[in-house]
């Protein structure tokens, strides 16, 4: 009998000794040697930003950012390995080289940029911030009119601290309704146990779609915290920093110049604007300067995914279930914060 119990155990030994992949280096050379870039995306998933579909293929805003980076490096959007990471595991995974770039809505903060983690945030891809949602029937148009409100908030988060700061700065008081689980919190708000629901803007918009009458609720314009999100890499690789930064800038520039997925080839053929000609590689040099696979990297990216605005509208915008307004995530010429340095 013992033998029989032991049998299955021995059999399992074979499982442990499988194939092993080669260790990643820690810079662009290692990525190029491996032939793929390892991109950390939020696991299990993040609505609109990164979700595997029913066939197990990742899609979403952050996922396309990684594919765009792969185009810049390899001229091939399929040269990405997506590694699911969680909020707890993302920094160790980046530090130990399991991923080359995090594209999972990591906020750029001073300590993350400079502290023991020593990461780099080459560019901001999404301006998030804590927002406040109220029911339309309250007739509130500004968060400054919320004195004495009951607020649904998750405990022990920066969300709670930001909220307290905001009300104190404005000499207002509030009564918190503190519930740990986001689903429960949303239900409490939906049932009218609190007047106000606060969370980061993108998350709040996702929660709004789950209310019984989403159209009866409005997200107020104030952002009471700054959450600049962007691809995150390890410090110390200037080439990779350049590539990530100028990939993001290409998406932003393309929208500013009105270059879209549909018209990119036509514009590349007929453009006279030197800025556009440089961006699309009609005039060579820019791709080489950032270390891209070729000078047409931006053109290939736009042809694959469109400009920043098209990506935004496809995954996050008002016509998606998330229904996000562009707001701060609009081009600087249209009142947003997206601003790319000149490509020249």
């Amino acid at each position: 009998m013992i033998r029989n119990f032991v049998l299955a155990g021995l059999a399992a030994a074979a499982f442990v000794f499988g194939p092993t992949a080669a260790e990643a280096g820690r810079d662009l050379d290692a990525i190029k040697a491996r032939g793929t870039i390892r991109c950390g995306v939020q696991g299990p998933s993040n609505p609109g930003f990164g979700v595997p579909n029913a066939q197990g293929v990742w899609g979403g805003f952050n996922v396309e950012v990684c594919r765009a980076i792969a185009i810049t490096i390899f001229n091939d959007p399929s040269k990405v390995e997506f590694v699911p990471v969680t909020t707890q595991s993302r920094f160790p995974a980046l530090t130990n080289g399991e991923v080359d770039v995090l594209s999972n809505n990591t906020t750029w903060t001073l300590t993350r940029d400079t502290g023991v983690n020593r990461f780099n945030f080459p560019a901001i891809i999404f301006y998030d911030g804590q927002a406040i949602m109220v029911s339309r029937r309250l007739n509130v148009t500004s968060a400054r009119g919320l004195n004495g409100a009951t607020v649904c908030v998750q405990p022990g988060t920066t969300t709670e601290l930001n909220l307290a700061d905001f009300f104190r700065q404005n000499n207002m008081t509030f009564r918190p309704v503190v519930i740990e689980a986001l689903d429960e919190l949303r239900r409490a708000y939906d049932q009218g146990r609190c007047d106000v629901f606060t969370n980061d803007f993108a998350a709040l918009a996702a929660q709004r779609t789950l209310l019984s009458n989403p159209r009866d609720h409005v997200i107020l314009p104030e952002r009471i915290s700054k959450e600049p999100l962007g691809p995150t890499i390890r410090q110390g690789d200037e080439e990779l920093t350049n590539i990530v930064a100028w990939t993001v800038f290409a998406l932003i520039d393309a929208e500013e110049f009105g270059i879209t997925q549909a018209n990119v080839d036509q514009i590349a053929g007929s453009a006279t604007d030197p800025r556009i000609r440089r961006l699309l590689g009609v005039e060579p040099g820019m791709g080489t300067a950032i270390g891209a696979a070729n000078d047409q990297y931006a053109r290939t990216i736009i042809k694959a995914f469109g400009n920043y605005g098209e990506m935004f509208e496809r995954h996050l915008g008002v016509n998606t279930p998330l229904g996000l307004e562009r707001g701060q995530n609009n081009i600087w010429t249209k009142g947003g914060l997206l601003y790319a340095p000149p490509a020249r």
Binding site: L7, A12, F15, A22, S45, P321
Partner: protein, 381 residues
């Protein structure tokens, strides 16, 4: 022939004719309505409890049934689900295969599907004592190689021609849950036995090592072991050496499970009377023979309930790999919840998960009960 005649004094003690058969005692065989009534309304206390339970059922069951079945949407889109207002089983239907295969490349899914079938057949065979022979081990080794080769496209680093390699990173769903729990427990079993024996050993070093392993691992949550295996271990690896993340998690799981199993087995060992050891000694059996033929067969048998208890606990613990981004069955469901086209069907997903885990755990429990009975004819009451 003279018939013996009973003395007169005894005659009136002997029945002269057959008495009518008595009915079975009422306590043994009341008619079922009476039995039912007595069980649920026999005393005021039971009646009160029954009424309260019925009231709770009447209060909760109709809304649940109307949600789960009457107003439920079985096929269709999220919009149709929200329209109907009931449970959205269409969501589970949409994500079902994702929950089985996880991130495994879609066009290659025949490979994990084949592996699941082979695995199911092997498990079915292995549960039958008829097949508990040496050949079964060899069969498992062969099948494991085939399964691993099919899943990953290579065996022991040698690529199989015609099979595209698939990194373990992409394995997911039921397969990862099964791999983690079945191989975790199968490996933990022999290690646990060795640790249990080591802890009772007379050699101080062996004993100290076993105690250290057991106490240290039991004193640390599984989640921190998973973190150590996933993020700390790679930092100490020499450059160029990389152990797969799934395998690191698997090792952490084995180490953890072994410590718990060891204590279960130790309980069994301590329950064996000293006379059994002395008897073995008197027969001239050495330590290994004593353990193999006398002690362990009894110790393992009597700990079956505790073993299954630990098995079920550890099986459910595999869901913790969620934290380190491995897409086991439960993680795939959590992931599916983030699909912005299907937001808000968490209840359905968790019920589906509960159903699957319940089936698995209940099967384990029933099998162990049968096994216990088969192995202990002397103790069946």
């Amino acid at each position: 022939m003279n018939r013996p005649v009973a003395p007169d004094a005894l005659v009136h003690y002997v029945a002269s004719e057959k008495l009518a058969d008595l009915k079975p005692p009422a306590s043994v065989l009341p008619p079922w309505p009476v039995a039912l009534f007595r069980t649920y309304f026999g005393t005021p206390a039971t009646a009160a409890i029954t009424l309260v339970c019925l009231a709770i059922l009447a209060w909760t069951l109709p809304p649940f049934l109307s949600w789960a079945f009457i107003n439920a949407t079985w096929t269709g889109t999220a919009a149709q689900c929200r329209e109907a207002g009931g449970a959205c089983w269409a969501f589970i239907g949409e994500k079902f295969w994702f929950s089985v295969f996880g991130l495994y490349p879609y066009e290659l899914r025949w490979r994990p599907a084949t592996v699941l079938v082979i695995f199911a057949v092997m498990v079915a065979l292995s549960t039958q004592r008829l097949f508990w022979r040496r050949e079964l081990v060899y069969a498992w080794f062969a099948v494991l190689a085939v399964m691993w080769g099919l899943m990953g496209g290579s065996v022991l680093g040698i690529p199989i021609p015609g099979l595209e390699p698939v990194a373990t990173r992409l394995w997911g769903g039921w397969l990862v849950t099964i791999f983690l729990s079945v191989f975790g427990l199968a490996m933990a079993y022999p290690i646990g036995i060795m640790l249990a024996l080591g802890r009772r050993s007379k050699r101080p070093i062996v004993r100290a090592l076993s105690v250290t392993w057991i106490e240290f691992i039991r004193g640390v949550p599984l989640i921190s072991l998973l973190f150590i295996a996933t993020f700390i271990v790679p930092l100490f690896m020499p450059q160029g050496v990389e152990i797969d993340r799934l395998i690191r998690a698997q090792i952490a799981f084995i180490v953890f499970a072994a410590a718990y199993m060891a204590e279960v087995f130790r309980g069994g060992l301590q329950a064996i009377p000293k006379g059994q050891f002395e008897g073995a000694d008197s027969l001239g059996l050495n330590y290994a023979q004593t353990m193999r033929f006398i002690v362990l067969p009894q110790a393992l048998k009597i700990t079956i309930p505790a073993q299954v208890n630990t098995f079920i606990g550890l099986f459910k613990d595999t869901t913790l790999v969620l934290i380190i981004g491995i897409f086991d069955f439960f993680t795939t469901l959590r992931s599916a919840l983030g699909d912005s086209n299907w937001l808000g069907f968490a209840t359905e997903a968790y019920l589906y998960a509960a159903f699957v885990y319940f089936i698995a755990c209940y099967t384990m429990s029933r099998y162990s009960q049968r096994l216990e009975k088969d192995l202990s004819p002397e103790r069946v009451r």
